[in-house]
């Protein structure tokens, strides 16, 4: 840790949810730019998208810039480390607020097939 940093906090959390859709549908929602734009964004009543770039492959980057109603700017920049279709995404991301870096995170997104036949679904596990 640098003694110049104002403060450093490390945290880790896992969030899971069971979806009644197959892993392919979930994976597409995370990797198709048009699809991801529909749900991975700021609150629609307070936030406007300005830049959205995606390059989902190992070494590829995402960039998402938006403006809140009060004029403040948020920026999300990600770098992919692991991309396994219908199984897993691992990326690091930096969050910027008004051009200032506010956090650095490592995220892994797992798509775990659940059930069989007419009861198939996906457990989505986000670990940060």
């Amino acid at each position: 840790m640098s003694s110049h940093a104002r403060s450093i906090k490390h945290g880790s959390f896992v969030i899971e949810r069971l979806f009644n859709y197959e892993p392919l549908a979930l994976f597409n929602a995370w990797t198709d730019p048009k699809a991801k734009a529909r749900w991975f964004n700021g609150p629609s009543d307070k936030w406007t998208e300005e830049v959205r770039e995606m390059d989902v492959r190992v070494g590829g980057r995402d960039r998402l810039v938006g403006k809140f109603m009060d004029g403040s700017e948020s920026r999300f920049e990600a770098l992919y480390f692991d991309v396994v279709p219908e199984r897993r995404l691992v990326y690091t991301y930096d969050m910027y607020w008004q051009g200032k870096k506010i956090s650095v995170s490592l995220a892994s997104i797992e798509f775990v097939a659940q059930g069989k036949d007419s009861n198939r679904g996906t457990k989505l596990i986000v670990t940060e």
């Binding site: 840790m1 640098s2 003694s3 940093a5 104002r6 403060s7 450093i8 906090k9 945290g11 959390f13 969030i15 949810r17 069971l18 979806f19 009644n20 859709y21 197959e22 392919l24 549908a25 979930l26 929602a29 699809a35 529909r38 749900w39 991975f40 964004n41 059930g115 007419s118 009861n119 198939r120 679904g121 989505l124 986000v126 940060e128």
Partner: protein, 121 residues
């Protein structure tokens, strides 16, 4: 460690929680106060080992031990846990809201692959 982080309550709380025995002790204390002997009962470890874990919980302010002679009951201190939960809440809520929107998106666009009506958990 920078001076600003010394004595940081949140760090002590999370460090104290980073152990299954200590979490089990806390969980037991949610049902009411207990003596050290009572707390040690379910664990396959010596009384001194359990006492050591209790000391960590006490230093972090998660547990206080009464002064009553003899049985000196341990009690939960809610405040640090509440602060830790409050610190984590925005992250959880942020993802929960995203998952809600993801679910809406899937419902609107997918016809194949829908297995059951209604929301997932």
């Amino acid at each position: 460690m920078p001076d600003t982080l010394r004595g940081d309550q949140l760090s002590s709380t999370f460090a104290a929680l980073a152990d299954p025995t200590r979490r089990a002790i806390l969980s037991r204390l949610t049902t009411g106060e207990a003596s050290v002997t009572e707390l040690a009962e379910p664990f396959d470890m010596s009384l001194p080992a359990v006492t050591k874990h209790l000391k960590v919980l006490q230093r972090a302010g998660l547990v206080i031990q009464g002064r009553e002679a003899q049985w000196r009951p341990c009690r939960l201190q809610a405040k640090p846990m509440r602060e830790a939960a409050e610190w984590m809440e925005p992250y959880r809520r942020h993802w929960e809201q995203r998952f809600d929107r993801l679910e809406d998106y899937l419902r609107e666009t997918t016809t194949k692959g829908t297995r059951r009506p209604g929301k997932g958990k």
